[in-house]
């Protein structure tokens, strides 16, 4: 579904964030992206929906090149790709419901969204998304009154409104404690398994990668260092990715109970 070829991103300040990155993603994959801070994980995810403009290279979405696409076409692609963030990126002062409904902005006409008069079917869709995330009673709450884990679940509900084929997750659990991290990743796992939504998720902790991902992309200095199943990351590969001094820090000491 996604084919990235020779993707390069150089920021205006001269930093090379991605250097000739190529890979393909198939439907229903749970792809983890690992690497040190600054290795290009966020830039890679943001290039795919062009929140960051690639410098060169190709990104093919079902055969269509996203790079160089005009904004109207791009918006049609973006709405098929959900995104969740480390800082959740909810509008804090708005209600949970409004935040979730904003996931629908790529579909509804501005005549509906600008005055904020959402039709019943969209509200029901939002209610279903919130129900799925176990947040039925929070629809009217202000987003910033929710805990971190709840806010991330609102983030996922917002992404679900897009009926996405792919969810880009940029360090979705880095701001959460280990128990909540597992809860969020289990939600993503469930969407991957039950809905067939492809997941591309940058992660910090290797044990989470082993537990949830079925493929790993390791980045170092903007280049792909490793692309394969998690079990192939042995001690040597680990040192290669994270440097000689690195220790394998785990998010949890015991395996989280499954489901």
């Amino acid at each position: 579904m996604l084919k990235v070829e020779h993707l390069t991103k150089v920021y205006p300040n001269g930093v090379v964030a991605l250097d000739d990155v190529s890979f393909t993603v198939s439907e229903k994959e749970f792809l983890a992206i690992i690497g040190l801070s600054g290795s290009g994980k966020s830039t890679l995810l943001r290039c795919i929906n062009r929140l960051v403009e690639p410098t060169s290279g190709k990104i093919e979405w079902y055969g269509k090149n996203i790079v160089g696409m005009n904004s109207g076409e791009l918006r049609k692609i973006r709405r098929q790709i959900g995104m969740i963030f480390q800082q959740f990126n909810l509008v804090k002062r708005a209600s949970v419901l409004t935040n979730v409904l904003s996931g629908r902005l790529g579909y509804v006409s501005p005549r509906i969204s600008l005055p904020g008069i959402w039709p019943k079917e969209e509200k029901e869709r939002a209610a279903r998304a919130l129900h799925r995330m176990g947040l039925d009673d929070k629809a009217k709450s202000r987003a910033d009154t929710l805990s971190g884990g709840q806010q991330q679940r609102v983030g996922i509900a917002r992404a679900l409104m897009q009926e996405p084929k792919l969810i880009l997750a940029d360090e979705p659990v880095a701001s959460l404690d280990p128990v909540l991290a597992h809860s969020i990743l289990r939600h993503l796992e469930e969407l991957n398994r039950d809905e067939g939504i492809t997941i591309m998720c940058s992660l910090h902790f290797l044990d989470l990668v082993h537990r949830y991902a079925n493929r790993v992309l390791a980045l170092k200095d903007g280049r792909i260092l490793f692309d394969g199943p998690p079990r192939d990351i042995d001690h040597a590969r680990f040192k290669e990715i994270y440097g000689e001094e690195a220790e394998d820090v785990r998010a949890t000491f015991v395996d989280a109970p499954s489901q």
């Binding site: 990126n89 909810l90 509008v91 708005a94 904003s102 902005l105 501005p110 969204s113 917002r158 897009q162």
Partner: protein
């Protein structure tokens, strides 16, 4: 090798030169500003008088009641029947019951109420609309007055009808009530608050869209966007430098001096000022939600509505209320050049030397400004 210390001589020379330059600047400034410290002492009594007038503002008057007492006074004697002075009650007592033209009599008043204003009239030949003022006095604390009255030829008895010597008494009774000057001041103060409100609102309508165009994080993408950004920014900066006083004069000549000219002057100035404040609020938003909403496929306008506006509403509100507060102050000054409102009233009263009434206006300005300051502080506190 350690750095060699600076040779001391050039340093000393430089220090001396700088000191000399600073001293020269101050000497020249003091002379040019005509600092005249003795004037502070010699003019002190004038200043104090004015301040005392300001501190006793004209805010209240008592209800007044009018009454009159009078009696026929034949001129010359015998031309008409003399009238007897009553024994008791409010009454006036002439020293003679009648008189000759050219003579002077003494008139006393008794029982007229303390501190009353008394106008003494001749009602000529008893015809009520033909009258001649004889004297004007104020009664003492016993309700008594005494004054001299000259008998002029016009008061002479005609056709057997004597002129009536009458005292019209205006006395303060009842409770204090707001003085006309106070009522006028309150009207003007309310007008000023409304002027500032309308000017701020009008300005906000223009400033909101302009502020988005002048926010780097919204507009400054690509060549076209940057051009809009710089043009809007320049426009806001230029209008912000317009002096409201000058604008008020221009608009005064344009649409006629008064409240409308004041509102226009304030509004033009406020567009620049609010636009700048708003745009800085827009630039300081959390970019995260904007990124998230863009990622859903939302267009630029939808992104502004769903990710930017909710973030800036509290700041926009508090800036607007704050500017309303500022505009009340400015419109007071604008009133001096004919912008209407309380400033205009104050200027008028100062020019006519009605310092007690000017004091009323000053008191109103102090109250309105403090109240609005308090209000705007409360709103700003709640909004954040």
């Amino acid at each position: 090798m350690p750095p060699s210390p600076r040779p001391p001589a050039p340093r000393l020379i430089r220090l001396t030169l700088v000191t000399l330059a600073i001293v020269t600047v101050y000497v020249v400034s003091l002379r040019e500003t005509e600092i005249d410290l003795p004037a502070l002492a010699t003019g002190f009594p004038n200043g104090i008088t004015l301040v005392r007038d300001f501190l006793t503002p004209d805010v209240a008057v008592r209800e007044t009641a009018n009454s009159s007492v009078g009696l026929d006074f034949p001129v010359p004697c015998g031309s008409a029947p003399e009238e007897e002075v009553p024994e008791s009650g409010p009454r006036i007592i002439p020293s003679d019951p009648c008189g000759e033209v050219g003579a002077t009599i003494i008139v006393e008043g008794v029982g007229l109420g303390a501190g009353a204003d008394v106008s003494l009239w001749w009602i000529l030949q008893g015809i009520s609309d033909q009258r001649l003022r004889a004297a004007r006095v104020t009664t003492d604390s016993e309700g008594y007055f005494q004054t001299t009255v000259e008998i002029r030829p016009i008061v002479a008895t005609k056709e057997g009808k004597a002129s009536k010597l009458t005292a019209e008494i205006t006395s303060e009774v009842g409770v204090l009530r707001p003085s006309p000057a106070l009522l006028e001041t309150v009207d003007a103060a309310i007008l000023t608050v409304f002027m500032a409100l309308i000017a701020t609102s009008m300005a906000a309508i223009f400033a909101v869209p302009l502020s988005f165009l002048a926010a780097a994080n919204i507009t400054r993408h690509g060549g076209f966007g940057s051009a809009i950004y710089y043009v809007t920014r320049a426009y806001l900066n230029i209008t912000r430098t317009f002096e409201p006083l000058v604008l008020a004069t221009i608009f005064g000549l344009w649409v006629g001096f008064g409240a409308f000219a004041g509102v226009l002057a304030l509004a033009v100035f406020t567009v620049g000022s609010l636009g700048k404040l708003y745009s800085e609020a827009v630039e300081s938003i959390d970019p995260g939600p904007v990124e998230a909403v863009r990622a859903t496929g939302a267009g630029p306008v939808e992104t502004i509505f769903y990710a930017v506006i909710p973030q800036v509403i509290p700041q926009f509100t508090s800036f607007s209320v704050y500017h309303w507060d500022i505009n009340v102050r400015i419109s007071t000054i604008i009133g001096f050049v004919g912008g209407g409102g309380i400033g205009f009233l104050l200027n008028q009263r100062l020019r006519t030397f009605s310092y007690h009434k000017a004091g009323t206006a000053i008191l109103a300005i102090v109250l309105v400004v403090s109240l609005l300051d308090f209000f705007s502080a409360a709103v700003r506190k709640r909004a954040t």
